[in-house]
């Protein structure tokens, strides 16, 4: 009498459908999971003043001038120094030094949501002025209004990126 076996084209089609779904899942996962790039810590020193010179902001702070003017009250912002390091096994690593001003990275760890928890030391001369712990998102800068210098003020900026 007749058999009930499934024809080869139907089996092949089902296999193709499952393979397509599996391939899509792999591609989507590969795009969703970020690649493990090394963490980099960046810092800069800005001189905020009311002099007539044009602002000279680093590329990472492009577009921040209006907000800096609104928050700190100064018209002009000049880049004094900037430095970036690759973070590996942090333990009080100097991040930026300019004159008597030193920024040290005390600890840094990544959070599951893509941010970073950072512990920072601000040292002026040989005195530790401030220790702070903060959480930042990828590339989001944290601003520290530092000491006065000449006709303006020192602004310290720190940002972390992966």
């Amino acid at each position: 009498m007749g058999s009930t076996s499934v024809s080869f084209p139907a089996v092949a089609l089902r296999s193709c459908g499952f393979c397509l779904l599996a391939a899509f899942g792999i591609v989507a996962t590969a795009h969703a999971i970020p690649s493990p790039d090394p963490i980099r810590a960046w810092s800069c020193l800005l001189y905020a003043s009311d002099t007539a010179r044009r602002s000279d902001l680093p590329q990472r702070l492009a577009g921040y001038e209006p907000r800096l003017q609104r928050s700190f009250g100064f018209i002009n912002y000049q880049l004094l120094a900037q430095h970036e390091i690759s973070v590996e096994g942090v333990s009080e690593t100097p991040l930026l030094s300019a004159g008597d001003i030193h920024i040290l990275l005390s600890s840094l760890s990544a959070t599951p949501d893509g941010g970073y928890v950072v512990r920072l030391l601000f040292v002026q001369g040989d005195k530790q002025e401030m220790e702070t712990q903060f959480k930042v998102g990828e590339g989001s800068p944290l601003f520290i209004r530092g000491p006065e210098w000449r006709d303006g003020q020192i602004i310290i900026v720190v940002a972390i990126s992966g």
Binding site: M1, G2, T4, P9, A10, L13, R14, C16, G17, L20, L21, F24, G25, A28, H31, L45, A62, G63, Y64, R67, S71, F72, L80, A81, Q82, L96, S97, A98, G99, D100, I101, G115, V117, F122, Q124, G125, K127, E129, M130, E131, T132, Q133, F134, K135, V136, G137, E138, G139, S140, P141, L142, F143, I144, R145, G146, P147, E148, W149, R150, I154
Partner: protein
């Protein structure tokens, strides 16, 4: 009481006798006239050599096999998958699932706008500590800027070069 067929067969075979014979012949007078023909017919039926030879002895067997073959051929045709616009339903199902997956991928996987610094800005001060009691630290949280304001710091000498 014997049936008519039993008595007739016994009468043809000659085993009916006595009162039964007289009674049967009285009830069926016409059968006596045709007894010779009945005996001839019985002889023909019992003679195996007289059976006619059929030209197609397997006629009925071949008819049955043809019907079986016909039903078998129809069976697989009934299981043929239906087609929509030339593609099997399974293929359309795969296309549909793939489309839904791609749509979900586009909608759910975030793609940040790195050109705008205000997009996805996250900066939160967890704690701040100053060593000098005359130095005070306050945190100002704005939508796209977080500032730690230190007050009471010593002024940096103006002759000091902070360029690096």
């Amino acid at each position: 009481m014997k049936t008519f067929e039993e008595r007739f067969t016994a009468w043809l075979d000659g085993v009916l006798d006595g009162e039964e014979l007289r009674c049967f012949e009285r009830e069926n007078p016409l059968l006596i006239q045709h007894k010779v023909e009945y005996l001839k017919l019985r002889s023909l039926l019992r003679n195996r050599d007289y059976r006619p030879v059929l030209g197609n002895p397997d006629f009925f067997t071949s008819q049955i096999m043809s019907e079986i073959r016909g039903e078998t051929a129809v069976g697989p045709r009934l299981n043929k998958p239906s087609l929509w616009f030339g593609l099997p339903r399974l293929a359309w199902g795969g296309v549909g699932v793939l489309s839904i997956g791609l749509a979900l991928f586009v909608v759910l996987i975030p793609r940040g706008n790195n050109s705008d610094p205000r997009a996805n800005y996250v900066a939160e001060v967890l704690n701040t500590k100053t060593a000098d009691p005359k130095v005070k630290a306050t945190v100002e949280n704005q939508k796209d800027m977080t500032i730690i304001k230190l007050e009471g710091l010593n002024r940096v000498p103006p002759q000091q070069d902070l360029h690096h």
